[in-house]
């Protein structure tokens, strides 16, 4: 029998939990109804990451600790979740729509011969049926997808769509599972992951972001923007074309196939506002845009606009911001 459980895969990088996991716990609790929210935590021995998860108040954390989980390949995690699935038969399993989440969940989908919906922007339940809303064709079309005759129902969810909320007073059941079989796989060796050099925190989690488009991509303006970013304590994000410049890469990219951001303050500089970009800024709180073209679509996503030259605007800001 299918249990009334929503499982969330806890994604771990560099010894800490990826924020999308907390966001998923909060969202799952909001839509769970009579279902339990259960987090799956796979770690090497010696880590106590469950304490980080507990404060977000899931009903239960299933903990698997084993030294084979250090730098585990996607296939091992998928195999362990499949074993847990056979033991407990959850209603659904959720992952972040990250590189890791997408890679493990699809492998698991093939093991369990069930449905998997990618990159969901919303989730809800009708009784035990998971209603999954996903974009298609570059966020131009929304689809409502269901998986009515197969369990578990699986989805990956775009990071920063939901807001994580703590619930520290809740009693969380901790269940350590020790009876899983770790099949040796000689066909793959995963080396320790490394933070990308030169980059600190991701723009995905920044509270202030300066976003740059082609209209502000000349050398001089970039230097000025860099200075302004330092003064404001802001991170710099770019549109897809600017990732071709040597100082930027896809990790700086905002939008579809880049980062979704949720800053308190977003200033768009010389940026047109293609749908592929605006898909990534829907959660920004206050949006200011600067563009020479008064008809630029970015203004339809902005609270304040300055029709004019991005460089002049940045220079004016540098004059008054200490």
């Amino acid at each position: 029998m299918i249990q009334k459980e929503i499982w969330i895969y806890a994604e771990i990088h560099a010894g800490t939990i990826h924020p999308v996991t907390y966001q998923l716990i909060t969202k799952a609790k909001q839509i769970a109804g009579d279902k339990k929210v259960v987090v799956l935590l796979f770690t090497p021995k010696g880590y106590t990451l469950e304490t980080l998860l507990q404060v977000y108040g899931p009903d239960e954390i299933i903990i698997v600790k084993n030294d084979h989980l250090k730098d585990a390949p996607d296939s091992l995690i998928a195999d362990l979740i499949a074993q847990l699935n056979h033991q407990r038969k959850p209603n659904s399993i959720l992952f972040g729509a990250t590189v890791i989440g997408r890679s493990i969940s699809a492998r698991l989908q093939a093991k369990l011969l069930t449905g998997l919906t990618a990159d969901c922007l919303d989730l809800s339940f009708e009784e035990d049926l998971l209603i999954q809303t996903k974009p298609s064709y570059g966020d131009n079309i929304m689809c409502e997808i269901v998986c009515p005759n197969h369990f578990p129902q699986m989805a990956t969810v775009r990071p920063n769509i939901f807001v994580a909320e703590k619930e520290e007073s809740k009693t969380v059941l901790l269940t350590e599972i020790k009876n899983l079989v770790f099949k040796a796989n000689k066909k793959i060796v995963v080396h320790a992951e490394k933070p990308l050099l030169s980059k600190g925190d991701s723009i995905a989690n920044a509270s202030r972001v300066l976003a740059i488009g082609r209209g502000a991509s000349d050398k001089k303006t970039l230097v000025l923007i860099d200075e302004l970013a330092h003064k404001l304590g802001a991170k710099i994000g770019v549109t897809r074309p600017l990732t071709d410049l040597p100082q930027f890469s896809v990790e700086d990219q905002i939008g579809q196939s880049g980062n979704s951001i949720a800053p308190k303050l977003l200033i768009n500089l010389g940026l047109h506002g293609a749908v592929q970009f605006t898909a990534g800024i829907e959660k920004a709180e206050l949006v200011i845009s600067v563009n020479k073209n008064e008809k630029a679509p970015i203004f339809d996503y902005s609270d304040y606009q300055f029709v004019g030259d991005a460089q002049a605007f940045v220079e004016a800001m540098l004059k008054v911001i200490q």
């Binding site: 493990i104 093991k111 066909k187 793959i188 925190d201 896809v250």
Partner: protein
């Protein structure tokens, strides 16, 4: 020198992302939408051709879809691939990622003796990135996904670097293996005149379910657990931007007041 047999799975996607929905059928209007090769798949073909040039071998393109996907396979042949197979049949229609991955994996079994299978990281229309890992699982192969650096094959193994959101990770897989690639990996080549001419001497082979040992219940709509219940164009929640004026200094003054009022600065 070892010889590699590489399969590259590719997809044709609509040219425009500004698609319309038929108000009656609620389906995406595809009929007049021109097709093109999924951009990430060009990086996959480039990676395969590059390895072929280093090691010698053969590159086979594989796609599933309607007959007009032949244009995309022809483009891949013109880039320098040796062979192209289109899996096309009504029975394959309406497939989700699971049924697609299953049919591709059955076709790869039939092709036989494959050392490497390349995919683009994801298609730009459905945007799932799922089919590569599904094929890897069905064929019981190791996977290295979202790869942005790749080394030549050594001792039957390949070393590749996966780029994640803020991290990177070196993965070593034993062949045969599945690799999905990012656009950062390489700059796809353009078809040369010579390769275009050569490509016209090649046939795009078309296979249907009768050529595969596939379970009829696992292909097409039947083999697809997910159902699209509703499709709509999102309401454009347009904001009305308030002007900061025309002069940069005045605009910045006004902006600072707003930011202070809202406790942002």
């Amino acid at each position: 020198m070892m010889s590699l047999h590489i399969v590259v799975c590719i997809k044709q996607v609509p040219v425009s992302n500004n698609l319309k929905i038929d108000p009656v059928t609620k389906n995406v209007i595809r009929s007049d939408a021109q097709g093109m090769m999924n951009p990430f798949d060009k990086n996959a073909i480039e990676a395969a051709l590059d390895l072929k040039e280093r090691h010698d071998g053969e590159v086979t393109l594989l796609s599933m879809g309607p007959k007009n996907f032949e244009i995309t396979l022809r483009e891949g042949l013109a880039m320098g691939a040796d062979r192209a197979i289109l899996l096309s049949s009504r029975a394959f229609g309406g497939a989700d990622t699971l049924a697609t991955g299953y049919v591709l994996s059955e076709a790869i079994k039939k092709i036989g003796n494959v050392d490497l299978i390349f995919f683009g990281r994801q298609s730009i229309d459905a945007d799932t990135g799922q089919v590569g890992p599904i094929v890897a699982e069905f064929l019981d192969m190791p996977q290295a996904t979202y790869i942005h650096e790749i080394n030549p094959v050594q001792n039957g193994k390949i070393l590749a670097t996966r780029l994640m959101e803020n991290m990177e990770q070196v993965i070593e897989v034993e062949l045969p293996a599945v690799i999905t690639v990012r656009s950062e990996l390489n700059e796809p080549r353009y078809p040369t005149l010579r390769n275009i001419q050569k490509s016209y001497q090649k046939e795009v082979e078309v296979w249907d379910e009768n050529q595969l040992a596939a379970d009829p219940n696992r292909i097409g709509i039947k083999g697809s657990p997910t159902i699209v219940r509703k499709v709509w164009t999102p309401e454009n929640q347009k904001k009305v931007a308030e002007s900061l004026g025309n002069h940069p200094d005045a605009a910045v003054q006004k902006l600072l007041e707003i930011l202070r009022d809202k406790n942002i600065l």
